[in-house]
């Protein structure tokens, strides 16, 4: 592996994230475990969105839908006394897969502005659904008393959860790396650059986009399972349009269409949020301005501005 600034950044970020629990232990600050646990979860969600947004050029503004579906899969089963992690996982995968397939089939028939609006609308639809589910907390959401239990691994233990998330992230990054260079990945990337030419060469883009959409939905659902275990709470806010917006910001901030971009974006965004929250109660004002500035100034993002991308 060549030692480019990007690979160095990759190693540093991953090393840092891997060592957080050690530091948290030594310093006696469990807060950091929680904060970076969230960073990991959102990084996974952002990695899934990056497949669509960064490599596929599909501006999905409703990705939080799958985060929420994953979380609610855990919450609802747990509420009914089922704490078997494998069942939680299965439920999340199946639900996200099916919803992803159906919504993807509708959504991918449109392009441009319509696509953005419809992804937003679908997420909103499920947001209202969760709000109206009074048995599962409705608008306020509800607590989860038993996390996902995988037998040897119990995800409601913070340390287990952290390292499970971390390992999952590593596996995902490796898988993405392979996916991007594979035939499937080339079709997705080619379609973003020049869909017309892709069709002229004989590719029918829709099945590939739909597959990417479903894969992305399922991975985001996994992030949802993790977040439910992290907060031990489920709430419609996971599906809020603002959450979708934050995911998009993370991907762009970190660097669209780069491997580590989503991770860097998640780290940068959540840390920035913490800093701003500590500084002023009107942090949303500042955050909003910062986002506008980011867009105006540079869209290549943190990793995007580092030389050394492959291909």
């Amino acid at each position: 592996m060549k030692m480019t600034p990007r690979t160095i950044a990759t190693v540093l970020i991953l090393l840092f994230l891997g060592c957080v629990p050690i530091y948290a232990q030594i310093a006696g600050e469990p807060f950091y475990l929680a904060l970076f646990g969230r960073v990991l979860v959102y990084a996974i969600a952002a990695v899934s969105l990056n497949l669509l947004l960064g490599y596929g050029g599909l501006v999905s503004f409703g990705h939080a839908l799958f985060l929420g579906l994953g979380a609610y899969s855990v919450g609802i089963l747990s509420h009914h006394g089922i704490d078997n992690g494998w069942l939680h996982l299965l439920a999340a995968i199946v639900v996200c897969g099916i919803v992803g397939l159906i919504s993807g089939a509708v959504v991918l028939r449109t392009t441009g502005i319509a696509f953005i609006m419809i992804t937003l609308a679908f997420a909103q639809m499920f947001y209202f659904l969760t709000v109206s589910l009074n048995e599962y907390g409705g608008d306020d959401g509800m607590s989860i008393f038993q996390g996902s239990n995988f037998g040897v691994l119990k995800l409601d233990d913070p340390l287990s959860l952290y390292y499970t998330s971390f390992v999952l992230l590593l596996v995902l990054l490796f898988a993405m790396h392979k996916l991007i260079g594979s035939r499937f990945g080339m079709v997705i990337r080619g379609t973003q650059t020049n869909e017309r030419r892709m069709k002229a060469m004989g590719f029918a883009p829709l099945p590939y986009k739909l597959t990417a959409y479903v894969l992305s939905a399922i991975v985001c659902g996994l992030a949802g399972v993790l977040i439910a275990n992290l907060t031990l709470y489920i709430s419609p806010s996971y599906l809020a349009w603002t959450t979708s917006g934050e995911l998009v910001v993370m991907v762009v901030l970190g660097g669209l269409g780069t491997l580590m971009g989503p991770v860097a974006g998640s780290v940068a965004f959540l840390i920035m949020e913490e800093v701003l929250k500590a500084w002023t109660e009107h942090w949303m004002l500042v955050l909003g301005l910062i986002i506008v500035v980011i867009v105006m100034v540079s869209r290549r993002g943190i990793i995007g501005n580092l030389p050394g991308g492959s291909r």
Partner: protein, 259 residues
């Protein structure tokens, strides 16, 4: 034998008839040029033949099969590929990757999620061959966005060839090329003649007369003449159509003087 047959093709945009009852045939291995003054509807015709533009009426058959209703991706699979007048490639990929992608389209489905395409020999070997054919072998690893315009036109051709077509629809392959570049491209097309049938839209008259087995002339969407280069040279309607339209007066053109 007839490979491509277009019957009574019509294309209207609102009140404007761009393709007006055009019928033509292209035989296997032959180079059939379509010429005409600007605005004659040549690119629209290619669009209709390739499948990107839906005709208002008329039929198209390829190798005996009716392809009128088929979308472009299926026509390519049957052996009818096109290149573009305005270069349409993938600037961030290398030349090899561009062509390999075209090869990939012909090799079954692409639901393979793991093996890197960079080491896929069944993709890269034919891609290398296509690049060699068009003279871009040395630029295989170059990022296309960094290549010159003339090289882009060569790449266009390589990508069309990589689709393993039986017939090529070439939309001004020499657009924007220098004299020397045009000559190279003409030699290249001559080498390909016989192996591939070609429908060639071009403004470069020297190339058209050097290459074509058959020429069709379109004026305002209507076919006004069709025949061998000699017949076209002598055709009065064609001369009228061109006189005063372009500096490239057909009758006065040096290429047209050759007996």
């Amino acid at each position: 034998m007839t490979l491509l047959r277009a019957d009574h093709l019509i294309k209207r945009y609102g009140g404007l008839t761009v393709t007006d009852d055009v019928s033509m045939t292209v035989n296997a291995g032959e180079i059939h040029a379509v010429i005409g003054p600007n605005g004659a509807g040549k690119t629209t015709l290619i669009g209709q033949l390739s499948g990107e533009i839906k005709s208002n009426s008329g039929t198209i058959s390829f190798d005996g099969n009716d392809i009128t209703a088929l979308p472009i991706e299926q026509r390519v699979r049957r052996g009818l590929a096109r290149s573009y007048q305005i270069t349409s490639v993938f600037p961030d990929f290398t030349a090899l990757q561009n062509v390999a992608l075209a090869v990939q389209a012909q090799r079954g489905h692409s639901f393979r999620f793991w093996e890197p395409t960079t080491v896929a020999r069944e993709l890269n070997d034919p891609a290398h061959q296509a690049l060699e054919l068009v003279g871009l072998a040395s630029r295989a690893g170059t990022r296309v966005g960094d290549m010159a315009h003339g090289e882009h036109r060569q790449l266009e051709l390589a990508m069309a060839l990589a689709c393993e077509p039986r017939m090529l629809l070439l939309d001004e392959p020499m657009a924007g090329m220098s004299q020397r570049e045009s000559e190279t491209m003409t030699e290249l097309l001559l080498r390909l003649r016989g192996k591939y049938a070609m429908l060639l839209v071009e403004h470069d008259m020297e190339a058209v007369f050097a290459l074509s087995d058959c020429i069709t002339v379109l004026v305002y969407g209507k076919k006004i003449a069709s025949g061998t280069p000699d017949e076209i040279r002598r055709n009065e309607d064609v001369k009228t159509a061109y006189l005063g339209e372009e500096d490239d007066d057909l009758a006065a053109h040096p290429a047209a003087q050759e007996a």
